[in-house]
Amino acid sequence: MTEKAKTAVAVKEGGNAGRGGSKKRKLRAWYRNWQLYLLALPALAVIAVFCYAPMYGIIIAFKDYNVIQGIGGSPWADPLYKHFVNFVTDPYFWDMLWNTLRLSLCSLLVFPLPIIFALLLNEIRVKSLRTTVQIISYAPYFISLVVAVSMCFTFLEYTQDRIGIINRIIRAFGMEPVKFMESAAWFPWIYVLSGMWQGLGWWSITYVAALTAIDPTLYEAAEIDGASRLRKIWHINIPGLLPIVSITLIMNLGNMLNVGFEKVLLMQTDLNYQSSNIISTYVYEKTLGSVIKQYSYGTAIGLFNNVINLVLLLGANFITKKLGGETII
């Protein structure tokens, strides 16, 4: 082959590649990174199977699901929204909704505590001391819910032959011991305060981290102006925390109805059922925790729950955006 012919062939090939190229190049862009896709694949498969496949399963809520016929074969509910109507007219409906909201509102009430704790930690000037306090404060977070709940029972016990430590203290002050775990009125507070014991240190971590990121020149300027420590906290630290606070608040609002199912289930007794019966435990009670498993009903309740959560989250996000705060989406 002559030199000229070679060039011609090369040009021809190049030209071909150019013409069919846009498609091929696109394919090649996908292909070039196949190793990356392979790295991501296991995690994506898990998410597909355990997050997205169940989303398809939501249609169970619109069917009269039975195990034998499966999702596809089970007849549609008549009318389609039957299970939702059943839920809304359930004698427990308003109780459950209120119980769930009450737990969330109580949690919201103690929401500032980790922020205050972070501010306190930030005021400890001796670094080794601060680290020690932090490590101590995270420890309860690593205790399992089963153990934490059983500790509640131990500390708050009051039966005819056994009195827990808290009630012993109450009695030492000459007051009447309280049957905490059997009391519907006390239930939300025990739930929230024991959660605070476990989470106070842990939830403060993000705030502590945000505080260390505050520009030190601000403090120097305040120093020159002769500001007291409290004033520095008020004018520098708290404004510095606002963006992260707004994000966590939105996240909390988006989880209003996602009250810790496991913990409530563990804390539930016949006597506090009146205020411990929340939407998610009711789903469990009606389905997996019962002999007659009302799958469709349970799915409908779960969907109701999740949709309201999503709406609350988007709403909170929207309002914060309007107010000019930091948002998540």
């Binding site: 790295l39 991501a40 694949l41 296991p42 169940p54 399992s144 007291s228």
Partner: protein
């Protein structure tokens, strides 16, 4: 030393007093449980323990030795923690690294699909139906796989990689002819050590303490597959009231004592390991709070 104003001095004292009280609040319950587990069952039962050990005795720990289910539970949980943590690390870091690469096609879509699952889910029953449908029900895998990828952790790792590993390193490796696997294994992973420590802590503790998936996906009759937390629930939240007759009191005392020794046995491993990993925690949480 700089002079402090009187107000600041009082403020400093107040801070230390409050923090000290909080530390007592965090530690007291833990020490109390430890004391209960090491006191004699009589002292425990009649509420004579307030803080320190009363009538030292190892009775409670001896009583545990007879409870085979605790050891079955420990074994199942140990398997779950080891297998689960390894899988979780592989899954999480693989996805996280892929998502840091700007040349990855469909990166935004994949990210959006992952993040969406943090805010919306199918709910308990559809998940249950899926797990049963693919035949995982009642197996160890049903307690591991559904919680093996936490999107939150993926975002933390992704943010760590893209913010603290300079992309020049990857470029250099690429020029040297390294493929993506090679870059991942030899360049990225060795530089991820701090975040690996945090992820091990998060996932391992998550598996160790997980209660939801074992509760839902392990049938109550399947005693061999029960994890530690399920066994603990049976032990801790029962009051031993089934016992009647002369030995009833003895039985109740024993049941009460076993509670505390099993709490200690099941919690101590975590509380011993965690301070070693704790120093990485703050850094990890800081990465997580950066908007991704």
């Amino acid at each position: 030393m700089k002079r402090q104003s009187k107000g600041d001095f009082i403020f400093q004292i107040a801070v230390y007093v409050i923090v000290a009280l909080l530390c007592v609040m965090f530690l007291y319950p833990l020490i109390y449980i430890l004391s209960l587990s090491l006191s004699s069952p009589e002292a425990v039962y009649y509420g004579q323990v307030t803080f320190l050990i009363k009538d030292f005795s190892l009775e409670a720990y001896k009583a545990i030795a007879g409870k085979m289910e605790i050891f079955t539970g420990l074994w199942n949980t140990a398997k779950m923690v080891v297998i689960g943590t390894v899988l979780s690390l592989i899954f999480t870091f693989g996805l996280a690294y892929a998502l840091t690469r700007k040349d990855l096609k469909g990166r935004r879509v994949i990210t959006a699909l992952c993040v969406f699952t943090m805010f919306f889910s199918g709910g308990l029953i559809p998940l249950y139906v899926v797990v049963q449908g693919i035949g995982l029900y009642n197996s160890l895998w049903a307690t591991i796989l559904p919680m093996s990828v936490s999107v939150w952790n993926v975002i933390v790792v992704r943010t760590f990689i893209s913010s603290s590993i300079p992309s020049d390193l990857e470029e250099a490796a690429k020029i040297d002819g390294a493929c993506d696997f090679r870059i991942y294994i030899s360049v990225i992973i060795p530089l991820c050590k701090p975040v690996i420590a945090i992820m091990i802590l998060f996932y391992a503790v998550g598996y160790w303490n997980s209660y939801f998936y074992p509760l839902v996906f392990i049938s109550p009759s399947n005693t061999d597959a029960k994890t530690l937390q399920l066994v603990l629930r049976d032990i801790l939240l029962s009051d031993g009231s089934g016992a009647i007759g002369e030995d009833a009191l003895q039985y109740k005392m024993r049941a009460e004592a076993v509670k505390y020794s099993s709490i200690v046995i099941s919690t101590l491993p975590i509380l011993i390991v965690y301070p070693f990993l704790a120093r990485h925690l703050e850094k990890g949480m800081m990465i997580g709070s950066v908007k991704g």
